[in-house]
Amino acid sequence: MKARKLTVALVAMLALVAAGCGSSSSGGKPDLVVSAASSLKDAFNQYAQQFPEAKVRASFAGSDDLAAQIEQGVKPDLFASANTKLPDELFQKGLVQKPIVFAGNRLVIAVPASGGKVSSLADLAKPGVNIAMGSDSVPVGIYTRKVLAGLPGDQSAKLLANVRSNEPDVAGVVGKVAQGAVDAGFVYITDVDATDGKLKAIELPASLQPQVAYGIAIVKGAKHPKQAQAFIDGLLHGAGQQALKAAGFDPPPPAGT
């Protein structure tokens, strides 16, 4: 009868877990489902705690994967991307409402705070240096390739030869640098800030810095468009803006540049 007791215990455990999930999603407030770029994780989680109109349920991944989900018919209330191209494309396809630019960021080279093989952009092209970057479909990887395109051809080729991993999102790049799997990685300044001193940033020359702008859009057919709009308003001037600033994001860059 030991097996029977075990079965009962397992079922009870499942029931408890299920009840826990159920109760956490209720509580009167609607669930606002937000699909957001990995780099927004800390800022959005912070903002979510202070957002009064809904319980924010954010999922974070590479912006390109989130956009692909929306193309496949997934309908979050909001889509926040680490660039403006992906929400613009979804807008043109009629899948989201007109996107709004709500934040800016800077691409940097992340290295271990304790130092290492890399202390400048030029070091990345040296033999024996290992680099991680975003894949060519995720915004951080696209920005990185823009930077490389601005380098002299041989330097960019040598740097690319040192790339060991094309990660599906920026969190993957941060993890590879933090674990010492690579010597350096291209990430946003906010990602370095979020490591609490484990990583440090090497700034890129201003002439090479790509314009990193974050776009957000309400998804067509969103269940809670009113709360979604309130979430965007707060990002532009309110608790969301404060959370973004605290996480190290820049104000949205001027449009049309």
Binding site: S137, S165, E167, P168, Q179, V182
Partner: protein
Amino acid sequence: MRSRSWFPPLLVVALCVALVFLVLPVVAIFTHTSPGDLISSLGDSSSTDALRLSIETTAIAMAIIVVVGTPAAYFLATREFRGKPLVVTLIELPLVLPPAVAGIGLLAALGPKGILGNTLDNAGITLVLRTAGVVVALIFVASPFYLRQAQAAFASLDNSWLEASRTLGAGEAKTFGRIAIPAAANGLAAGLALAWGRALGEFGATLMFAGSFQGITQTAPLAIYGNFATNFDGALALSAVLVAVSGALLLAVKFLTGSEVLGGVAH
């Protein structure tokens, strides 16, 4: 009497729900896009590189698993010793570990900052972000499938055969090689097929430990995830290949262990 009337239909309904739920996603992979488009999107270099890498890394992993795992399983099947249940449980643990846990565990053990990181570094061995790292991740997640099946296969052999062989002066090594392995061959092969299927599907541990780079560490499941955003058809095509291969491996297991598959196959 009344209870009989509603219960059997309930069982049928439950089975139908389960069957549709489990089969629909697999069918959808093949019907979402036309077969011609599926085949043509396999020509993409990231797909071909990923398939080649998947075949290579899983083949190497399987070779290592068989060479080390077969004698280890034989030992477990033929010996009794104190703590054996604990050893068996420890060996089986990766079966139920989430892949992400496997990935973080491998990093903590064999990564540059892991407990064996310095030792490996001094020996000039780098695993993270290398093809060798993929093989290590595959062995970690897949070997328990082989070990378990192989142990069961050896354990089910008639002990008197092995003893007869030994008393006839064959020695244990000869008995293992000439008698036990051939007699347990079907069970061993079934374990190998199970392990191979698990290795082909490995995703999380590989991404965390070995990263993702075309031709070096981007296996088929990683390429599916990588292509998902920009090349959905390509991702579907690779998925279709994995479904076919995994299905073939499962059939092999069923055949080797003598289970019926389609009703017509008697044993």
